[in-house]
């Protein structure tokens, strides 16, 4: 539509009209300016600076002794078994928690679309509430409730006590479903009712309607949730942040980088590690985006390039 209008304008070749488009672009850029400036100053330049740092042996305590070491830090990464293990740990963390998180969120969202459910607003707030509990609180809630569970359930039944942190990951995953659940639920609500009616008339049962209508229609929301969860697993703060302290994070790779950064003050190597993580994440994200063309339904063609 726009292209048609533009080409018509070009054919008519009225210079005043053309400058109107240019003017629109200029005003638009003015609106984008805050983010563009911030992007250059706080994202692009620091990332480049990190790339340069990763080629040196910069240490926080002795900045004047910094030397250019080339790819040494990257070679060190390939020989560092802890770093490799942490990277795979982060991948494992992603593979372990994200499916659990997404499936529970999806099932809950599907139940919520039922008109029979009462007090939706309130239950929805309760489900979301756990996602904003600060990390300061969450570990003590977890440990405290484990102790009480021991005293109330396990000891009376003569069961062995729960071995602490094994349950922490699924627990945290379940208590983080809030945003994903709400995004999927709103997506489900905006699926046109006529499609369901048509399918019902054709004899599709509830299960078939869910698989063949709901899932494809909300696939953009599922995709979005997947991408933000992927970022979360590698140490990005997306949508909601519980605010883990620097020396501790549930993502092994993030903790390892922070440890190299602050305990050992080895900034060159830490930057190299951050760059490796960045590269792995970007590769995964690009694979996800490529695969999105196969399974994500985009109502508008240009959205494919946009989300």
């Amino acid at each position: 539509m726009d292209i048609a209008k533009q080409s018509r304008l070009l054919l008519k070749a009225k210079p005043a009209r053309l400058t109107r488009l240019q003017q629109e672009a200029r005003v638009g850029l003015l609106f984008l300016a805050p983010w563009l400036i911030g992007f250059v100053l706080l994202k692009a330049l620091p990332i480049l600076a990190a790339l340069i740092l990763s080629l040196t042996d910069f240490k926080m305590l002795t900045p004047e002794a910094t030397e250019f070491v080339g790819l040494e830090n990257y070679i060190r990464f390939f020989q560092d078994s802890v770093a490799g293990a942490s990277l795979f740990g982060s991948l494992g963390y992603f593979l372990l928690t994200v499916p659990l998180e997404m499936i529970v969120a999806l099932v809950l969202a599907a139940i919520f679309t039922s008109e029979r459910l009462k007090n939706k607003r309130f239950s929805q707030t309760l489900i979301f509430m756990t996602a904003i509990i600060p990390s300061t609180s969450i570990f003590f809630i977890f440990l405290g409730s484990l102790e009480y569970a021991d005293r109330l359930i396990f000891t009376p039944l003569n069961l062995p006590p729960i071995q602490g942190f094994g349950l922490l990951l699924p627990f945290m995953a379940l208590w983080s479903i809030g945003p994903g659940f709400l995004i999927m639920y709103s997506a489900m609500q905006s699926v046109p009712k006529e499609i369901y009616e048509a399918a019902r008339v054709d004899g599709a049962g509830p299960m078939a309607r869910f698989v063949y209508i709901t899932l494809p229609m909300i696939s953009p929301a599922i995709f979005f949730t997947l991408v933000i969860n992927l970022t979360g697993a590698f140490g990005g703060a997306v949508l909601l942040d519980r605010g883990y302290i620097l020396s501790f994070s549930l993502s092994p790779m993030e903790s390892y980088i922070n440890n190299t950064m602050f305990r050992e003050a080895d900034l060159g190597y830490a930057s190299a590690l951050a760059w490796v993580t960045f590269a792995v994440m970007m590769t995964l994200t690009i694979i996800l985006f490529r695969s999105a063309r196969r399974w994500v339904y985009f109502p508008e063609e240009d959205e494919v390039n946009e989300i």
């Binding site: 726009d2 672009a25 609106f31 600076a49 607003r121 300061t136 109330l152 933000i228 519980r242 109502p299």
Partner: protein
């Protein structure tokens, strides 16, 4: 007659079973959700219980679950602890007067005048008698040690200033992305999405250098936590832009014909229709600042009087590591965001558009 009545009877009966099924289905669904919520939120009550529990109860393995205190008997000016003592006449509740390993002397609270009763056995195997009594001492202790009110004030100031900045610039940028034909805007938008996925620690060292004494000298001030938000937040821009795009352009064009400029259209056409999403975005930012510990520990570590609440509480928890103090801190930190969430549940995330589906 019979022939005529039977089908209608049948219809009535089937309608009844249908209604019964309908009712059962509704009941089952709501029951399931109720059970799920109870299981899902079950760790929370324990935190409240623990924060109301007196300290010495945690030391006694036989103590009850609910906050309670030991029953005591005042005898000859001393507080004696009451124990469950097994005797030949069944279990008696006696106050321990003179403890000894082999045999101890007890006082019967119901018959104080009778004097000490000798009981054979080790008093340490006895269980103390408790009565239900929640205490607020933990809160008093915690508040006297930490500067929680100050942290609350600091966090609210930082949240408010950065909120203003992040809303202004994110709304402007989202409007720019949603409504203007700019050459190459697709690629700029892709950059925006890409910045959402940048791991935070890759930019940490260079930005720390930027804020440090070498360049800006902002360490020990709130500026590193406030100023970046004035450039907008990528994820919030994304959410706002998706919503702005879903608003029909007809009204814009009508306003434009009336001579309204772009800013005018944003303020009087777009924003009034986007109140839910703007509220959501504002709340998301508030929760973000409230939970902020990373930057607070990095930039405010040197100035405790400017510290924010999450990190402030986290730090004081390392000073006195007892269960009830931890629970008090945990409870205090989460009270405000949860209250805010409940007050705003009417607006929050009601219209979360990730991609346009029907609009």
């Amino acid at each position: 007659m019979k022939f005529k009545r039977r089908p209608s009877q049948l219809r009535d009966a089937s309608r009844l079973t249908l209604r019964l099924w309908d009712f059962t289905g509704t009941a089952m669904l709501n029951l399931f959700m109720f059970m799920f919520l109870i299981a899902y939120l079950s760790p929370l009550p324990f935190m409240v219980i623990a924060s109301l529990t007196p300290r010495d109860q945690f030391l006694d393995a036989h103590a009850p679950i609910l906050p309670s205190e030991r029953v005591k008997l005042n005898y000859e000016g001393k507080d004696l602890i009451v124990y469950n003592v097994p005797t030949d006449d069944g279990v008696k509740q006696w106050a321990l007067y003179k403890p000894s390993r082999q045999s101890s002397e007890f006082i019967d609270p119901e018959n104080v005048a009778a004097g000490p009763i000798v009981w054979e056995g080790n008093w340490r195997t006895l269980k103390a008698v408790y009565q239900f009594k929640p205490t607020l001492d933990n809160f008093r202790d915690f508040l006297s040690v930490t500067k929680i009110p100050l942290y609350f004030k600091n966090t609210l100031i930082v949240a408010f200033i950065s909120e203003v900045g992040v809303l202004f610039s994110s709304i402007a940028v989202a409007y720019g992305f949603a409504r203007f034909r700019i050459p190459g805007i697709k690629y700029i938008f892709f950059l925006l999405i890409a910045t959402i996925m940048i791991p935070s620690n890759i930019t940490l060292v260079p930005t720390y250098y930027l804020y440090s004494g070498h360049v800006l000298g902002w360490i020990g001030t709130w500026l590193p936590l406030i100023v970046p938000h004035f450039f907008g937040s990528a994820i919030l821009i994304f959410l706002l832009r998706q919503n702005f795009k879903s608003i029909p352009r007809d009204l814009d064009e009508a306003a434009m014909l009336d001579g309204a400029g772009p800013l005018r259209i944003l303020i009087s056409v777009i924003l009034p229709q986007s109140i839910p999403v703007v509220t959501t975005v504002a709340l998301l930012h508030f929760f973000y600042i409230w939970n902020e510990t990373r930057l607070a520990s990095l930039y405010l570590g040197v100035s405790p009087n400017l510290q924010l609440v999450s990190f402030g509480v986290q730090r004081s928890q390392t000073f006195f590591f007892t269960p009830e103090a931890l629970m008090v801190g945990a409870l205090l930190v989460m009270v405000i965001p949860v209250t805010v969430l409940f007050l705003s549940q009417r607006f929050f995330m009601q219209d979360m558009i990730v991609t346009q589906i029907e609009k």
